[in-house]
Symmetry: C2
Subunit: 203 residues, 2 copies
């Protein structure tokens, strides 16, 4: 939430935010200096603090900005009555996986530095993270009510497994330096949905 600003200063703010994402992705939040961000953005050290409250605040903003988009997609998938459960889940998975394809640095930062940081940022944003689980759980629950899915697995459990599955897949892409290809990403979505819905038992 910048104070009222000119277009030029808004751009500079954005430049710092983008630079921060690159630096966080490359060095990790804990192992980079604020001066690295300033250097990467090509501005003076102090300017970072003109636009942001603190180093933590920058990461918070990166996370919240991205996570809000995902929550929107989940709501959208849950609300669209024309979709099957598989389509709904595929829509969410596709958004996450394609976010990684288009903005690997942002997604790496969101997952590695926030979502998986149980003691620091993960705890701070736990309620927000849970909003996503809750949204997924609602998708499952409704499908159970309509008979589209079996009713004997708790929806919140299914949601956690589904989300945990995606996160682990992204994590493995992030760790192994080879980037995912578009085909990898499409395959991951359909395999995930097929595993969770269809199960691994023989057809």
């Amino acid at each position: 939430m910048p104070p009222r600003t000119t277009a030029a200063s808004a751009e500079k703010r954005r430049a710092i935010l983008d630079a921060a994402v690159r630096v966080f992705a490359e060095r990790g939040f804990n192992h980079c200096r604020v001066s690295d961000i300033a250097d990467e953005a090509g501005v003076a050290y102090g300017l970072v603090y003109h636009y942001f409250k603190s180093k933590d605040g920058i990461l918070d903003e990166v996370f919240l900005e991205r996570w809000a988009l995902m929550l929107e997609v989940i709501e959208e998938a849950a609300g669209d009555d024309a979709l099957s459960v598989r389509d709904r889940l595929a829509k969410v998975a596709t958004f996450i996986v394609e976010s990684y394809g288009r903005h690997p640095d942002v997604m790496q930062v969101v997952i590695v530095e926030v979502t998986r940081q149980a003691n620091t940022f993960g705890r701070k944003h736990w309620a927000t993270i849970q909003d996503a689980h809750a949204g997924l759980a609602r998708i499952v629950e409704r499908a159970q009510e309509s008979g589209e899915l079996r009713g004997d697995i708790p929806p919140s459990f299914a949601a956690i497994v589904f989300y945990g599955g995606i996160e682990q897949v992204l994590t493995s892409w992030i760790f192994d330096t080879a980037p995912s290809t578009p085909d990898d990403r499409r395959a991951a979505v359909s395999n995930l949905v097929e595993t969770i819905c269809g199960g691994l038992d023989p057809r």
Copy 2:
């Protein structure tokens, strides 16, 4: 790897290691001081460095000790010819989940401070972490070969989703302060195996 020691000194070493687990679990690896560990163990600061190379080294040892047990269980589950896939997967899941039941601090540290720390310890131990994925993948692969599971989902993918699912369940137990009950744990195992093998589609 302590140098040759008397029984008494081995005990003291153990006491420091146990104290470290408690401190890491409570404050987080990055937000505790080595002096916290020394205080918790009731020994002088310097003694920690008599028994361990560094603060990092302590965490490494906590992780490796526990992870080795898990790898053993995975090997055991993979090797026991009398077991069905579901039993094999349940055996692994039960071990993990019951480890949490018996040693919540240790498991919290292993997961929160190592396994999920993609930029620091997670990367350092990535190969070891992958050993677990590989073991699970082998279980799936063999079951596919015997026709016990469908063959069109890559085993390594299934393994990652399975492991990611457990980890996310444990994470949610860790974040929400309410401890898991024995019933929660049993239910988690059977729900996980049932979700992954049977799928969420109606029976």
